[in-house]
């Protein structure tokens, strides 16, 4: 049955002209709302239906559908009174990102899975109906509704992408945003609401946008970018085609880090690094496909085993990488020491004369006071100064000779 036929059947079954929009047909959401926001659908007939009875509405043939299947999706105005609050799974603490309450419509009624606060606020403002994002289910079960309510904030609406696709797409998105002339704030969508402030730093702001909009932490976002780093577009596409998983990226990354240290040491350009790392990836992928392992790069240099074992002991020294997580929450300001003090002016005879005079004066004062300890202390104190003056005098003399 075609989707438009399904919609007609549904409308006929409820006995009214239900304004709805097939989500699959596309089109900007605000247009949908503008057209249909003042109309509502009555679902009382559906509520009276027994769950084990065949559908009277001709909505679908329920025997053809499992509990899990969504048979249709629409935006509809629903009477607030008929929407039930599904609470077997508690409501999410954070409000839904959806503009409309998300409702599952089954033969037993309409069940709000997310956005109950939107319904309550519509009710409080005296409205009798509210536009909802409605998923049609041929059959009803609490378990299915619970799965859906949980999945709403776990599984992406469009389905699951392969890890390689995520890595590739996040990288492309980063490139686009970095190249974009738009103010990144326009892309943040809810970021400010969560207290995320933008800094005067485009690279950092792009990562913030990515993290916010993809619903991932900054470290996960950075991980995607790291896995894509120094891989050519062709290589990323190949990895997508091969459907490589996260495990491969992680194993390859250990070698990539080693290779990067080497290539950076040799001051290779970004393009050269990308070329070489991408070329290496092919080998690592072949190795991984064979035995799910990638040999460490340095093993190429492992010498043949030395003679006899010396000691029966035991522990392999494991590199102690410290973990994330013990970081202070306090924000610190990066304030590097960037400038060097001004170079002192070139030494001069006048300067030398002045400093020698000062030194002589200090020594002479100690002599006048006639205190043996003071005199000894003063001499010891001034000796290195006098030595430095003598070195400077020698340098000045040399310069003078050169001029002559």
């Amino acid at each position: 049955m075609r989707k438009d036929q399904l919609m007609d059947a549904s409308n006929n079954a409820s006995g009214i002209e239900t304004p709805c929009v097939d989500l699959a047909s596309g089109g900007p959401l605000n247009q949908v709302v503008a057209i249909h926001s003042h109309q509502s659908v009555h679902v009382s007939a559906l509520q009276e239906e027994e769950p084990d009875q065949p559908s009277q509405r001709g909505l679908v043939d329920q025997h053809q559908h499992s509990h899990a299947e969504t048979i249709d999706e629409r935006y509809e105005d629903l009477e607030i009174e008929v929407i039930r609050h599904f609470t077997s799974i508690p409501d999410y603490k954070a409000p839904t990102d959806s503009k409309y309450p998300i409702v599952a419509r089954t033969p037993q009624g309409c069940f709000c899975l997310d956005g109950w606060d939107l319904i309550e606020s519509a009710k409080a403002s005296g409205k009798v109906s509210v536009t909802c994002a409605v998923e049609y289910l041929a059959d009803h079960s609490d378990e299915e509704l619970a799965i859906r309510k949980t999945a709403l904030r776990v599984k992406p609406k469009g389905g699951i992408a392969s890890y390689a696709e995520i890595v590739r797409n996040v990288r492309r998105l980063q490139e686009m945003l970095l190249a974009s002339n738009h103010d990144l704030r326009t892309f943040r969508h809810g970021g400010s609401r969560r207290g995320e402030e933008f800094a005067n730093n485009k690279q950092e702001n792009v990562i913030k946008v990515l993290a916010l909009r993809l619903g991932k932490s900054v470290s996960t976002t950075n991980q995607y970018l790291s896995h894509a780093r120094y891989l050519s577009k062709e290589m990323l596409n190949l990895l997508v085609t091969k459907e490589v998983n996260k495990d491969f990226f992680e194993k390859a990354n250990a070698n990539k880090t080693t290779a990067l240290t080497r290539l950076n040491s040799e001051r290779k350009s970004e393009a050269e690094i990308t070329e070489q790392i991408s070329a290496r990836m092919i080998g690592w992928l072949q190795e991984y496909e064979q035995n799910k392992k990638i040999e460490a790069l340095w093993k190429e240099h492992e010498p043949s085993p030395p003679g006899e074992s010396r000691s029966e002991t035991t522990q392999d020294p494991a590199p102690a990488e410290s973990k994330e997580g013990d970081e202070e929450e306090k924000e610190e300001i990066f304030d590097p020491w960037r400038g060097n003090p001004e170079e002192p002016e070139n030494d001069s005879f006048e300067q030398l004369k002045r400093e020698t005079g000062d030194l002589a004066k200090r020594l002479s004062e100690a002599v006048t006071l006639d205190d043996p300890n003071l005199l000894c202390d003063r001499i010891m104190e001034e000796t290195p100064r006098f030595y430095q003056i003598s070195l400077r005098a020698a340098t000045l003399r040399k310069m003078q000779d050169r001029k002559l």
Partner: protein, 367 residues
């Protein structure tokens, strides 16, 4: 004119800070506990093209074991052990490790003196370790001569002052060795300088300073390498630890650490001043926003690079005190420390051959 060498310590094959690491310091516990570790260490030397290989004795692990209250044994007939509650090592283990890892230099096993302030406590501590240190230095010298005469032997100096050093020196008699190595944890800069002058006066040509690559220690070493010794080397793990524990980025000028943790705000206008191959043409934000492991890798590489480079630059500019002072003023904002150091080096330059006690008075150290 001698050599100044900075050893990369606390590394392993997985975290080498560069493709080529000319000088690496290893120790029996971390790098030769079993055949696998030995193979990996030799592979690391080969991979990194290491020219200078230094075998530390494991004294630091003894120091930590004592601090942690572990059972400590020094039995040459038991295997080398470092576990949660026990440690076993002897001069034989160290020399045996040297025979397997083929270093150019090694340090004899030592029992480190703890970090103490009180003078009486220091004296007690020194005397309680002296017997071990004399015995182990003597054994190491004999074992080296028998098993690996090609390896240069450095005798560790575990003391708090010059008098204690003189006592140790007299006590070991005329055993054969190539240089001294000394930990710096109990010493101020002028005390280190005084001890180095004493080494010089005793005809020592080679010195290794254990466990520090702070800017001013490198400054001091550069001067001594340039004017008084054939060889001064240093080692440290700060390049790694600062990166891993504090996500610190060493300032390329004076090696002061800059925090690059995720919660630090970085203005886009801040210019990247470092020309090291790991930072060149990159930004602080690039480094800051790298994923954790990538960030650590970059920070480790950068930190070690700038330490080595600082050593080269300081050595280059230590040809005379005037040039050195000017150079230091360009590199570090710590003018008072620079003035003190230049004063100290001036005194040393004049009086290096005089009675050490006169020098001590002039330097006004408590050593």
């Amino acid at each position: 004119m001698g050599k100044l060498v900075i050893f990369c310590a606390g590394t392993d094959i997985g975290i080498l800070p560069a493709k080529k690491v000319t000088s690496i310091l290893v120790n029996p516990f971390d790098n030769a506990m079993n055949q696998k570790a030995i193979r990996e260490t030799l592979a690391m030397f080969a991979y990194a093209g290491t020219e200078n290989r230094f075998l530390d004795s494991g004294g630091y692990q003894i120091y930590k074991a004592e601090e942690q209250g572990k059972v400590m044994t020094f039995d040459p007939n038991s295997p080398l052990i470092e576990s949660e509650d026990r440690i076993n090592i002897s001069p034989n283990h160290v020399v045996e490790t040297a025979c397997q890892l083929h270093p150019q230099m090694m340090t004899a096993l030592d029992f480190p003196v703890r970090k103490l302030k009180d003078k009486t406590e220091r004296e007690k501590e020194f005397l309680s370790k002296l017997g071990f240190n004399i015995k182990w230095a003597t054994e190491a010298s004999l074992l080296r001569a028998r098993h690996c005469p090609q390896v240069q032997l450095f005798l560790p100096i575990q003391c708090y002052d010059l008098d204690q050093f003189e006592l140790f020196k007299r006590s070991i008699g005329d055993i054969s060795y190539d240089g001294f190595s000394t930990p710096l944890r109990n010493m101020e800069l002028d005390e280190i300088a005084l001890l180095l002058v004493r080494f010089y006066q005793l005809g020592t040509k080679k010195v290794h300073l254990l466990g520090s690559t702070s800017f001013f220690v490198i400054v001091l070493s550069a001067f001594f390498a340039r004017h008084l010794f054939d060889w001064i080397s240093l080692d440290a793990t700060s390049w790694r630890l600062a990166a891993e524990k504090a996500q610190a980025y060493f300032n390329p000028f004076d090696l002061s650490p800059e925090n690059l943790k995720d919660n630090v705000l970085i203005d886009e206008s801040i210019r990247m001043i470092c020309q090291c191959p790991f930072c060149e043409n990159r930004t602080f934000t690039y480094i800051k926003t790298l994923p954790y492991t990538d960030k650590l890798a970059l920070l480790r590489s950068h930190n070690f690079y700038v330490i080595e480079k600082a050593g080269e630059d300081l050595y280059e500019n230590a040809s005379d005190l005037l040039r050195f002072e000017k150079f230091l003023r360009r590199r570090s904002p710590r003018i008072k420390d620079i003035n003190n150091l230049i004063r100290c080096l001036s005194i040393i330059d004049i009086y290096k051959k005089e009675d050490i006690n006169v020098l001590k008075q002039l330097l006004r150290t408590d050593t």
